[in-house]
Symmetry: C2
Subunit: 414 residues, 2 copies
């Protein structure tokens, strides 16, 4: 008996005909004798409509009431899909966050799942009933509805798969898998058959938007195998033994490891540079302490000694939308003399080369720097992890850099 979790996003349930299509995908798996739980998002456009209503009432509104309003989108879809399944002759029942106790913390609008009581749905699944579960929602300790934040249904799906100890979690979406890089930029990009959790995590956090970062983290922690595939496929034409798309799994399952698996990029970065920072202990701690207290997510950080040896420059990146606010916070809260000049530059892009093979292969960074140098692209900031090298470059070179790197690492399709 295989136990499956299937997840369908907003575009996959955009209207009744798409919901019927989803029901046929589910029916196929049930027909193979699998136990199935399905997670659904709100019909596309619906969440935005609901958010718009809350904004019309009050720009600054109570997050608890926001969650009450916005969570209805998924509720509607669960009911409709349960009906569509019954219409296809498949036993089904909808479940909302509070009904199966998707327990979360109280961070309304961006809650994290603490646990799920699956006893009830496991009992029903054993009797052949499909559990249709509302994604994106849970309940806090005070029995109030919480939502997980944008894209949260991926996370819901992985959390349910972990709680059910499912054999696989199939993420049906509007793309047909994870690619070596953005196919809109590199025509010769290739679909990746298998990718490790850590690589996927780097790809996701570096801008590849196929899966929500949090969902990949959760899948890694609980070792939930994720199959990413297109919901537009004909349900009856699929080979259930070998589903198309990309499997996100443990490294052990990947026989032929690439040195570099993909190239990710993000244009939503801003570079902030502090000049004339006195070269003495404690100042960096103070500056990044201020930023952390104010809730900024600082990504890359570099510090250089200037020629006179008395002051340094500190450069770091934050999200583009946070740039002005970060500058203002630092100006207002830093001790006098901690830095001279401060500058923000939004005209930057971050390019990342990702691959678990890097651990055992040297020369990956060198290839990157060489390739960019050959194209005359200046590297502003570098940061590395065990399986990733990221550089910050001027924004207008983004496509050129990605294409050159894709070729240099041998990722181009024949």
């Amino acid at each position: 008996m295989t136990r499956l979790v299937m997840k369908f996003g907003g575009t996959s349930v955009a209207d009744i005909s798409r919901i019927r299509h989803v029901a046929r995908h589910v029916k196929r798996e049930v027909g193979l004798g699998h136990e199935v739980a399905v997670l659904v998002s709100a019909m596309s456009g619906e969440t935005n409509r609901l958010i718009e209503l809350t904004r019309d009432v009050a720009a600054l509104h109570d997050a608890r009431e926001y969650d009450v309003v916005v969570s209805t989108g998924e509720q509607v879809t669960t009911g409709l899909l349960a009906m569509a399944l019954q219409q296809e002759g498949v036993q089904a029942r909808s479940w909302l966050g509070w009904q199966i106790c998707v327990r979360t913390d109280g961070a309304h609008g961006a809650a994290r799942i603490d646990g799920i009581d699956t006893a009830m749905i496991e009992e029903r699944m054993a009797q052949g009933q499909v559990a249709v579960i509302a994604g994106f929602q849970g309940v806090g300790g005070d029995q109030r509805i919480t939502t997980l934040g944008r894209g949260g249904t991926d996370t819901s799906a992985v959390a349910v798969a972990a709680a059910l100890n499912a054999d696989r979690c199939d993420i049906y979406t509007d793309v047909d898998g994870v690619y070596t890089t953005d196919p809109r930029i590199v025509e010769k990009s290739q679909k990746i058959d298998r990718i490790g959790y850590e690589e996927m995590l780097e790809m996701a956090s570096q801008g590849a938007k196929v899966l929500q970062t949090r969902s990949v983290e959760l899948a890694m922690v609980h070792d939930v195998r994720l199959q990413v595939l297109s919901s537009y496929l004909d349900p009856d034409s699929l080979d259930a033994e070998k589903l198309p798309g990309t499997l996100v799994c443990s490294e052990d399952e990947i026989v032929e490891q690439q040195v570099v698996s993909g190239i990710a990029y993000s244009r939503d970065e801003a570079k902030i540079t502090l000049r004339q920072v006195p070269d003495k202990p404690g100042i960096a701690a103070d500056i990044f302490g201020i930023l952390a207290d104010a809730g900024f997510n600082v990504d890359m950080i570099v510090q250089n000694i200037t020629e006179d040896g008395k002051t340094t420059d500190i450069t770091f990146t934050v999200g583009e939308a946070d740039a002005e606010r970060a500058v203002n916070v630092l100006k207002a809260r830093a001790q006098p003399g901690e830095f001279g000049d401060i500058q923000a530059d939004k005209n930057v892009a971050k390019i990342s080369v990702v691959g678990i093979g890097m651990r055992s292969h040297s020369g990956v960074a060198r290839t990157m720097f060489q390739t960019l140098a050959e194209k005359g692209i200046n590297i502003q900031v570098i940061s590395t992890s065990e399986i990733k090298v990221s550089v910050l470059i001027e924004s207008e070179y983004t496509e050129l850099a990605i294409r050159a790197l894709h070729t240099a690492y041998g990722l181009d399709a024949d």
Copy 2:
């Protein structure tokens, strides 16, 4: 300390500006130091949109899933109104059926409320927080969402008022009170200041659509005083000591009782006549047993002996929409020989004269028959209760009959 329940229907919360208007009505009562719970319907049009979605999926769908989908309309409004109240500086919190345990039976789509746990909201109300409660919804014993059927928010409001032992339940709607008859038919109809529960019940069940019948029954049982008034009134211009509209209350509160309080009518009736029914015991029981088993709501019944003394005619009324089906059910299930011919006639209207004063005044029925006779209107069926006389007439005489009766009973405004 006065404890108030306020109810706002779909047109009163049709858009964000109307919801803000509602918030100002609530703020007025809170400002007077009252403890307030508010019941809201879905934004107008929203319930129909949701029902349409369920119909698109499946004409015959699971009522449990229907309730999951349709109940989201009220959920959205509760969140938005709570936000709008907070925006006005009024403490508020939304509550869904499952959160305050609006316990219902399991009749999905037409559930009845068994009880409400008000401890939580009473505690909050005592601290000055307004409870914004989703109308129309509850939970069944199996923790599934149930809905109460169309107009159910009136019933929710009365049930909450009863559970809270509220001093009054204010029903804000799109008319400014209960009238002696339909103002679209009789220009000289008058708003009634006070009307007894039983009268209101007869008026409601006879077609006056201001309040849902079930809500009036519940108010009568629990002695909840209902004030019906227009949500379009300017919240700041109201005299809180003497609200406009109509108070529905116990007879004891009505000092000057009218013999006749109002004229109600319904065009949604059909008359079914069975001819050549053998004049022997048990046949009527059989026929109406068949109809009851099939779920028909039979209203007026008359039986006449024919001249030969051997057979009778039986005439009764059902809802217009049920007429064909009732005829078919009787043809299919009645014993052979129980009746000869069967005919349905939808071209009828029921006119009812209602008043608690009838109990102590004679001649009310005679005035009715005389008035109709003078206008040449033939009475097809008569039925009476302690406080009501109803007649069935040919549909085209409806307006003429109502106007004549309104004048005859002295109800015309000066």
